[in-house]
Amino acid sequence: MIANVSIYEILTLTTLLFFIGLYGFLTRKNLITMLMSIELLLNASVINFVVINKYMFPEMLQGVYFSIFIIAVAAAETALAISIIINLYRLKVSVDVNETETMKY
């Protein structure tokens, strides 16, 4: 718990963070930027886990452990996404999301 900071302020921050990430994911055309936006989404939820754990159930540790899991999964997912993007770049010489539109119908 942080002194003089209530749970509402932190939750407001994470909500903002989440929607910034969502906005970025929907509007950016660069695949790397979209990946960064996804990281924002994940981080917002990780902070939520820790904060709710600390403020509401201080005697428990589940939220903290979940946050560690999420970070690990996010790292793996990022590695995967980067490798896909690199391969796409080799094929198209571009990291623009519009180049992936061949997979349709």
């Binding site: 519009n98 992936t100 539109e101 119908y105």
Partner: protein, 642 residues
């Protein structure tokens, strides 16, 4: 006696078939022939041993030869009594047929090693010959109706593949198709007959079906009548339809002349000696039923179909020029003989002489007709033509073929002393004692047979001095040995008691002592000799008589020459009536209505999907937007509306 080795008789050809069929790329020309001959030789040896053991060393109970079943494997059970078995049944006629089938098959195999030399389908040919022999042996030893039906279809298939052996020749392919379709059509009747029999009698087993003591029990179980006949009579007539199709009886004979497109050993083995007598064998196998139901009505059908076929075929054979076709019609005529002999036969004691005559004629006919066909094959091999006009004076080039043809032709003509004389004499006696009308038909056919066989003989080996491009050569020994063997076999069986089993070939298996009736023998042989003399006058040297006589008959001659236009009649019925009037509207309905509905549904789905497929744009962010929008809508619903 232990007859368990009899299982090997059909199995050895089957193993040979598998060996040659599976490795037909590896086993090269002469070897596959030797394998086929060796397999058949073992099989034939076992058959002779079986015949010897069965007729000499098996104890008779009250003077009756017992029916033995060394093998009987229960295969499929429907009810307690109705089951399909596979097994081996030995009784006088099946043992005799084992001897006939293996002997002729062995001869055809030996002959084929010479006849098929250099053919690229050499191994395939021997594989199919072995398959045929296996199926025919399985048919002969069948213990029940269903086993006979299974092997019945198997001989049909092997006959199909052997007629169409030269599959790059359109006429051979057409002939194979025709044979298969016609016999399949007839087998449909056979199957319905079997099912009726199984339903009302409750069994397929021959030993139950053929026991006259059971017949009263069968009749009480079958209340249904069809036009005043019991349901069993209907079943038997339907089964005879199958037999008539396989045995090329009028009006289902149209496939047999065309089947001559196959190689000549095939014609000798399948379409003269063994497969085509399967119908006769079937009637003989079911004889007690044919004889006792409805006062022998089914048997009268058999007798008249046989008589009409024999007369019909003999008339056509008078006019044909293709030597194999003449022999084919002669086969049909002789099988008609066997059928009518069965048809006029009684059951007990001496009354069964017709049955005995029929089976005996089956034996002698197999020998001399196979001999005739093999000789015809040897002639065709030398001249490279099937037509009589291309032959003449061949006696100078082919002395052995000449002798064999003469002996076998004398045998089929019923010349005294040859085997055909004795068996034909018995048939005439049986016909004379039971049905005068059929007797006169039989006598007339005997004369015609002698005439057309010697027309053939004189046209091929005497007649005009044809100039040949290539001097014809006598065939190699591999072909001559089977021919000479069969020539000997068309003399001996009549003369001596070398075949004591003839006396046991009776419906009640009690055995009768036959004897030559001197009056009948004189009448029959004088009719035959008269036919030979007329043929001698007409064809010994080229004369004007045949042309004059055929001109005098005018339209009648043309009618006969075109085989009474039966083929054209069937073509008319199938093409003009069935295909055009019935099948075409059905095809229209199927195409437009049934297919139309289904295609309409398919087309509508496709066009609808064309409209909505734009949603799947491939843009990742659109998908994510739709997903998030959906989540938001769901959240709003959950929070505010529930």
């Amino acid at each position: 006696m232990n007859f368990s080795y009899t299982i090997l008789i059909p199995l050895i050809p089957f193993v040979v078939f598998l060996l040659l069929g599976l490795f037909y790329n590896r086993i090269k020309e002469p070897v596959s022939g030797w394998i086929g001959v060796a397999g058949l030789a073992v099989s034939a040896g076992l058959s002779y041993f079986t015949a010897y053991q069965y007729f000499y060393n098996t104890p008779k109970v009250d003077g009756v030869l017992q029916t033995l079943m060394p093998y009987k494997i229960n295969w499929m059970n429907f009810t307690d009594t109705l089951h399909i078995d596979m097994g081996i049944l030995l009784d006088p006629i099946s043992v005799m047929m084992l001897v006939v089938v293996t002997t002729i098959s062995l001869m055809a195999n030996i002959y084929s090693t010479g006849y098929m030399k250099g053919d690229r389908g050499f191994t395939r040919f021997f594989a199919f010959l072995s398959l045929f022999t296996f199926s025919m042996l399985g048919l002969v030893v069948a213990t029940n109706l269903f086993q006979i039906y299974i092997f019945w279809e198997l001989v049909g298939v092997s006959s199909f593949s052997l007629i169409g052996f030269y599959y790059d020749k359109p006429s051979a392919v057409a002939a194979a198709k025709k044979a298969f379709i016609v016999t399949r059509f007839a087998d449909f009747g056979f199957l319905v007959g079997i099912l009726l029999m199984g339903y009302y009698a409750g069994t397929f087993d021959f030993d139950i079906l053929n026991n006259p003591e059971n017949f009263a029990g069968f009749l009480t179980k079958s209340p249904q009548m069809f036009m005043g006949l019991s349901v069993f009579t209907t079943a038997l007539v339907l089964m005879f339809m199958g037999g008539a199709g396989k045995s090329a009886m009028f009006p289902l004979h149209i496939w047999l002349p065309d089947a001559m497109e196959g190689p000549t050993p095939v014609s000798a083995l399948i379409h003269a000696a063994t497969m085509v007598v399967a119908g006769v064998y079937l009637v003989a196998r079911m004889f007690p039923m044919f004889h006792f139901f409805d006062d022998g009505f089914p048997l009268h059908v058999v007798a008249w179909v046989g008589a009409i076929s024999s007369l019909f075929a003999a008339i056509i054979a008078l006019t044909q020029y293709d030597i194999k076709r003449v022999l084919a019609f002669s086969t049909m005529s002789q099988i008609g003989y066997m059928m009518l002999a069965l048809g006029v036969s009684g059951y007990d004691g001496h009354e069964g002489v017709g049955y005995m005559a029929s089976m005996w004629h089956l034996f002698t006919h197999a020998m001399f007709k196979a001999g005739l066909f093999l000789t015809a094959g040897s002639v065709i091999h030398a001249v490279h033509s099937n037509l009589m006009q291309d032959m003449g004076s061949l006696r100078k080039y082919m002395p052995y073929s000449n002798i064999v043809f003469l002996i076998t032709a004398l045998s089929i003509a019923g010349f005294p002393g040859f085997s055909g004389f004795f068996s034909k004499d018995e048939i005439l006696i049986a016909a004379f004692e039971h049905n005068k009308a059929i007797f006169y038909i039989t006598l007339l056919v005997a004369g015609m047979t002698a005439f057309y066989m010697f027309r053939l003989y004189f046209s091929i080996f005497w007649g005009k001095d044809t100039h040949y491009h290539h001097t014809p050569h006598e065939s190699p020994w591999s072909m001559l040995i089977p021919m000479l063997f069969l020539a000997i076999m068309s003399i001996i069986p009549g003369w001596t008691q070398i075949l004591p089993f003839t006396e046991w070939l009776t419906p009640d298996k009690k055995g009768i002592h036959w004897h030559l009736d001197p009056v009948m023998a004189t009448v029959a042989s004088s009719v035959g000799i008269l036919g030979i003399i007329i043929a001698y006058v007409f064809y010994k040297k080229p004369t004007e008589y045949p042309a004059k006589i055929s001109a005098a008959f005018g339209n009648l001659y043309r009618w006969v020459f075109n085989k009474f236009y039966i083929d054209e009649l069937y073509l008319f019925i199938t093409k003009k009536i069935i295909f055009q009037r019935i099948s075409t509207p059905f095809a229209w309905f199927d195409k437009k209505v049934v297919d139309g509905t289904m295609e309409g549904i398919g087309n509508k789905t496709a066009s609808l999907s064309n409209v909505i497929k734009g949603i799947q744009s491939g843009k990742v962010q659109d998908y994510a937007f739709a997903f998030i929008g959906g989540v938001i809508v769901l959240v709003i619903i959950v929070i505010y509306m529930l």
